[in-house]
């Protein structure tokens, strides 16, 4: 039996599903092939201990644009929220926590409050001007094509239209590190730490690394089009979003197969012509769109024999190893953080008490070691969504900076000590936590690589930094969701605008495929 499709999407993660949905809406016969038994990729809800379920990687939804949610009618397809407009609390060891809610902060003195408010107003303005850049397909440099020229003009206009003073300030700070920016404006160590944490979350940088203002603006720009729902927790975990996306794709006409691992991309006459599955089945299609990371797509699925050495060299140099780790705790009762009320527990909780704390957390990772005092983002999803755990019991989900992909000592030796270190760190703010623990799961970058098929285990499929951003993401020659091989496209987080559960890469890739076919 030969089945033929217009498009095959490799990987049923959120970007793959968004891409498939848009392609199907554009009239294409689409097949999504997902290696795992459920759709979602890294945006899944998994049982990690009997009766305890958790969002496996990302645990908050704060970057999915309202436009995509509306286009794909996600609410209609079952996406509900257990919590929306969640607050952020920066924990202090003296229990003098800071609370951020709907853009305002409480718990600091008047001067810092004023400084923070004016800094954030300015950063938000920058983020709003950068937002269209996040949404667009990056232009190519050195071509005379109309789309590229207008794209570059638009980029220049977005910066120029800030006005002289703000443009100067943006250009001054965009290459800076967030450590210096925080010191310039703010006084409270806790406030500085909270700002810097958002800049380095999911990256391979400490706050002193140049480019961390860019990653902060990136995060803020990604959050600007989300609307009031910003910082939300889908009911049923992130898997609920993936299920809604899959439903939207299916309704639009896409076919989705799980448990279908792609072994390689079929190339015929120098064009992508389909895929071969691990079980040997060949499926043909006139275009192949990969949501896998660039390294996996090009070096493993496509094969270097179809590529030029210079391009392979760029892919090989694409910085793809993650430093971000996930901790899941199954708890027999609600965790009790000192001086934290129930409302706070339904929000996002940070352990990043100062700039130096985060920088010191980062330092060991440079030498293949784990942080001794890690910076942590904690969510207790069961505080808003009791369905994730047995009655009265709870789940603690934590994103941890920093633990290396390939530590000097093996993860076999480091796993338990690092779990203990994390529990100790959290317990300093939540006394008695250890006694509540029923089960613990640690997902290191190496685990993420192995379980989700992301080479290097980086949440963004590759580091987000100036050299891997926008027009050069993932590398020149593949930065417009295309590739050197005709009819092979990229739609994953390795492409602009990058990771975070956003879906823009998937949507933009679908547009490119549809444009090509038109």
């Amino acid at each position: 039996m030969t089945t033929s499709y217009d498009s095959i999407v490799i990987g049923g993660g959120h970007n793959g599903l968004v891409c498939a949905a848009y392609l199907a809406r554009g009239g294409k016969r689409v097949l999504v092939l997902e290696a795992a038994d459920q759709v979602g990729g890294a945006a899944v809800t998994r049982e990690f201990a009997p009766g305890f379920r958790v969002s496996a990687c990302a645990h908050l939804l704060h970057m999915l644009p309202q436009t995509i949610a509306n286009d794909l009618a996600l609410a209609k397809h079952g996406l509900e929220f257990a919590a929306q407009g969640m607050s952020t609390t920066a924990l202090s060891q003296e229990a003098a926590h800071l609370r951020f809610s709907r853009g305002a902060v409480s718990g600091i003195d008047h001067a810092d409050h004023a400084a923070y408010t004016s800094l954030m107003a300015r950063l938000r303005k920058f983020a709003a001007h950068l937002r269209p850049i996040l949404e667009m397909t990056p232009p190519r440099l050195g071509t005379s094509a109309w789309a590229d020229q207008t794209g570059l003009l638009r980029l220049a206009w977005q910066v120029r239209s800030l006005g002289r003073a703000d443009m100067r300030e943006l250009l001054r700070i965009i290459g800076m590190n967030v450590y210096d920016l925080a010191e310039e404006h703010l006084t409270s160590p806790l406030l500085r730490g909270a700002l810097a944490f958002d800049a380095v979350l999911g990256t391979n940088s400490g706050p002193r690394a140049p480019g961390t203002v860019l990653t902060l603006l990136y995060r803020m720009a990604a959050e600007t089009a989300v609307g009031a729902a910003a910082m939300a927790q889908p009911k049923g975990g992130m898997g609920a979003l993936s299920d809604a996306l899959a439903a939207a794709a299916r309704v639009a006409g896409a076919e989705i197969r799980t448990g279908a691992r792609v072994d390689r991309i079929l190339v015929r006459d120098d064009r992508a012509a389909g895929v071969v599955l691990a079980d040997g089945e060949t499926i043909e299609a006139s275009s192949v769109i990969s949501s896998a990371d660039p390294r996996t797509t090009f070096l493993r699925l496509l094969g270097t024999e179809h590529l030029d050495t210079g391009f392979v060299r760029r892919i090989d140099h694409f910085r793809h190893r993650g430093l971000t780790t996930k901790l899941h705790l199954a708890l027999s009762g609600p965790p009790s953080f000192s001086s934290v009320d129930d409302a706070t527990l339904r929000g996002r909780i940070l352990i990043a008490p100062s700039l130096d704390y985060i920088e010191n957390a980062f330092n060991p990772s440079k030498y293949g070691e784990c942080s001794e005092a890690p910076a942590i983002e904690i969510v207790v999803p069961t505080a808003s969504d009791p369905s994730l755990a047995p009655p009265g019991q709870h789940v603690l989900s934590a994103i941890v900076q920093y633990a290396p992909y390939a530590p000097k000592l093996s993860w076999d030796k480091l796993r338990q000590p690092f779990i203990d270190c994390l529990i100790d760190t959290i317990e300093q703010y939540a006394p008695g936590l250890r006694k509540l623990i029923v089960a613990a799961e640690l997902l290191t970058p190496a685990d993420i690589e192995q379980q989700f098929g992301i080479a290097g285990g980086h949440w963004h499929h590759g580091e987000l930094a100036f050299d891997q951003f926008f027009m050069v993401r993932p590398v020149p020659g593949a930065a417009q969701y295309n590739s050197p091989v005709e009819n092979l496209f990229l739609c994953g987080a390795g492409s602009h605008p990058g990771g975070g559960v956003m879906g823009i890469a998937g949507r933009n890739a679908a547009r490119q495929v549809l444009k090509k076919a038109a």
Partner: protein
């Protein structure tokens, strides 16, 4: 025997001696050595003219050891090379040699060289310049091992009408069966020696590959066997004359490694170098193919061609003009000489479209220095067929025993 002083230790000697160094130093009459790929090699032994005529009339011996050699082995060796170079390596049978070029992503030539297929999965890649970095990066995704083995092989080039006769006199039997680009394995006094019917002169000739410890023995044996056949060691200058007559290009003279150029537009495609016969666009993907496919659809903006220039003044480094008044430049000469064998004033030149078409005429501005007085000549130049010299004996099998 060896009359020269012992060599200084390596740290005082930035250039290495080749395994033939003692012999070449003893044979050198003018002490004219030049660096080549980290070795000191002979530029001229006696006079260029004498050495040149040995290539064309008798037999020349050239120390080829500094030529960079990479050994490529492994299950994917053929696939690897086929992706690396522009020719179809699958068509290269064991014990055969192929001349080829390889390109970067933009389809611009990195280097030219020869591939020796020693066995199904064992190749030797001989190049002008070191490029292990490019070769290793090209190996990502292939099951191959790549090693530079330049120092482990001593090599001599034996070129000229009596080259076969010299090998025969040296007691090597079976060499007559080698067709051009064949590889054969022989022994001299139980010392293994690999012989390929290859060369850089466009003449009858062989290249001899041996263990470094056998180098002096082989040299001495050839010199003894060739004494009645006019054998003579030659330096790089004489070889350069022969290669221009044969129409062969030289890296850094006729083109620049595209991975090292810094100025835009200075790198060259195989089409621009007149090497389209080396490019197999039908064999599947190889480095630069997509760019070359594009370029092949266009007419190249410039092309390396052979020129015949009026008069007898070598047009070295001459600029080329469309008009006799030299107001509109259309190209430049990269290699030039008075060819004693062809009795023609010849050159290789990079010429802009449309002037590179066969038979087109234009003008060369030649500068001459005569007793420190510079003169300028404007001579007519014509685009002519290459090679300028390619004798029948080069291809004849069995070769002439002269």
């Amino acid at each position: 025997m060896n009359a020269t002083a012992p060599l200084p230790p390596p740290f005082l000697q930035p250039l290495l001696p080749t395994p033939f160094h003692a012999r070449s130093r003893a044979a050198s009459r003018v002490d004219q050595f030049v660096p080549w790929a980290g070795y000191t090699t002979v530029d001229v032994y006696t006079t260029v003219e004498q050495e040149y005529f040995a290539i064309r009339n008798t037999c020349s011996v050239y120390d080829l050891t500094p030529m960079v050699k990479y050994r490529i082995t492994g299950a994917d060796a053929e696939r690897y090379l086929n992706r690396l170079v522009t020719r179809d390596v699958r068509k290269l049978k064991p014990n055969r040699v192929a001349y080829t070029v390889w390109c970067n992503d933009a389809g611009h030539v990195i280097d030219d060289g020869t591939i020796f297929r020693l066995a199904a999965s064992e190749f030797l890649l001989c190049t002008a310049e070191r490029q292990l970095n490019w070769l290793l990066d090209s190996a990502i995704g292939f099951d191959v091992a790549i090693a530079e083995i330049t120092e482990t092989i001593a090599a001599l080039s034996l070129q000229g009408p009596t080259a076969y006769g010299v090998l025969k006199s040296a007691g090597l039997t079976g060499v007559e069966r080698l067709k051009p680009f064949d590889i054969g394995r022989f022994a001299m006094n139980d010392r293994p020696i690999t012989i390929s019917r290859t060369g850089f002169t466009g003449d009858l000739g062989y290249e001899l590959w041996m263990q470094p410890q056998d180098a002096e023995f082989v040299w001495d044996s050839l010199m003894a066997a060739g004494s009645s056949r006019g054998i003579r060691p030659i330096g790089s200058q004489a070889l350069n004359m022969a290669r221009i007559e044969a129409g062969f290009i030289m890296p850094n003279l006729d083109f620049v490694n595209s991975e090292t150029t810094v100025r835009i537009g200075r790198d060259r495609s195989p089409y621009e170098l007149g090497l389209e016969w080396l490019v197999d666009l039908k064999k599947g993907h190889f480095n630069g193919r997509r760019a070359l496919l594009e370029e092949q659809r266009r007419r190249p903006a410039r092309r390396l061609v052979g020129l015949d220039i009026d008069g007898n003044k070598p047009a070295e480094k001459a600029l080329l003009y469309a008009d006799r008044h030299c107001s509109r430049q259309i190209g430049a000469v990269s290699s030039a000489m008075w060819s004693p064998t062809c009795k023609r004033n010849i050159a290789l030149a990079m010429v802009d479209a449309p002037h590179f078409d066969m038979g087109r005429q234009f003008w060369a501005e030649i500068y001459l220095c005569r007793e420190l007085v510079w003169e300028r000549r404007v001579a007519r130049a014509r685009v002519v067929e290459k090679p300028f010299f390619m004798p029948e004996r080069r291809k004849l099998t069995p070769p002439g025993d002269r």
